[in-house]
Symmetry: C2
Subunit: 211 residues, 2 copies
């Protein structure tokens, strides 16, 4: 019924336009959904973290390219049995609707980020999102001093935030210079004060209930 697939960082899971005969749930690692303009400009349009769902019921063609941004483990189901499961089991269908609505809300926050936030606010917002996701997995609220493992290259961050990788690098340096973050190697970020980071992100919400 279900089976697992593993991908290395940078590996493509499916190309936009490819036939996709499975749906999946992210078990570990991180993946990005990506769109491109013909001239090569690239924008990430979805970020898949553990527990997120991949694939669209009722459509067997991938609309976006999916790339592992870190080592990735997927728990896959063949499309046909999964769709039957949805029809037979309204509870699962309703759960899927709820997840999709959550994704839509996340996409709408992202629209605000891309449309109106400055480069610095974008970086801070991304760090807040990653911190919240990491905390949610262990059912705690992020607070005080926290450490974030960045499962993204600077380029992937830029694709997510609608920036260039140079701007990402410069803003990370600026945040470090001002003591908002500390860097331990390239991929580990230490946040001395989470509230300070939230302030920098321009976003004032409390992240909602822990669900």
């Amino acid at each position: 019924m279900k089976f697992y697939r593993r991908y290395e960082a940078g590996q493509v899971v499916v190309w936009a336009g490819d036939r996709m005969d499975f749906v999946a749930s992210v078990v570990a690692g991180m993946a990005g959904l990506t769109q491109q303009l013909e001239d090569g400009r690239t924008q990430m349009v979805g970020l898949l973290l553990p527990s997120d769902f991949l694939g669209r019921p009722g459509r067997d063609m991938a609309a976006y390219t999916v790339t592992a941004t870190s080592d990735l483990v997927l728990c896959c189901f063949r499309r046909k049995p999964f769709e039957k499961l949805l029809i037979d089991n309204p509870r699962i269908a309703s759960r899927l609707l709820e997840m999709t609505l959550d994704e839509l809300d996340a996409a709408r926050d992202w629209l605000l980020l891309l449309g109106r936030k400055s480069a610095r606010e974008k970086i801070a917002s991304l760090l807040v999102i990653l911190a919240r996701r990491e905390a949610a997995l262990i059912k705690r609220r992020p607070e005080g001093r926290i450490t974030i493992e960045l499962p993204l290259t600077r380029e992937a961050m830029a694709d997510y935030l609608g920036l260039t990788l140079e701007t990402v690098s410069r803003q990370m340096s600026a945040l470090k210079r001002e003591g908002v973050i500390e860097l331990d190697g390239k991929r580990r970020v230490i946040v001395p004060s989470f509230v300070r980071l939230v302030t920098e992100s321009g976003d004032d919400s409390d992240g909602g209930p822990l669900s």
Copy 2:
């Protein structure tokens, strides 16, 4: 069971955070979902056109401010009976899932627009979207010479596109100067060649099947 509500252009349907005891379907006119940062920066995060759905099942608090951008007619259902309908009737629930997935896809195209397109491409993309929506309602494909009724002020366009209203105005003037569009008053746009407009939008897809 169902009832209608009318709003004038500019009127607010619900404020973010308000309790919302109904869900609705757009019958006529247009509305925008809007998010704001504390300092007033505003980004539209959803565009509701006839046949679109408003409200989230299972949540009675509006997450976004909804404003009529033109005169608007909603067909409303009280939340409780509607949610019961969803549980009793899997066909409707499945249709709602499909609509939500379509909205998510639209939001993702929008992310690409906000993150990577130039001001000119953004304007052209918006006109393409409106032209396609207008054409879809009469089950035709947009082609050749078409007329678009803009149900948006320049400011609302700017909020949609992540631009300032001055930039919107300048780009509209530029497109007019170069013969891509003609203006008849402020709110009517004539597109002599739809393919030319699509070229300007940077988007190369054909708009998909008419469904």
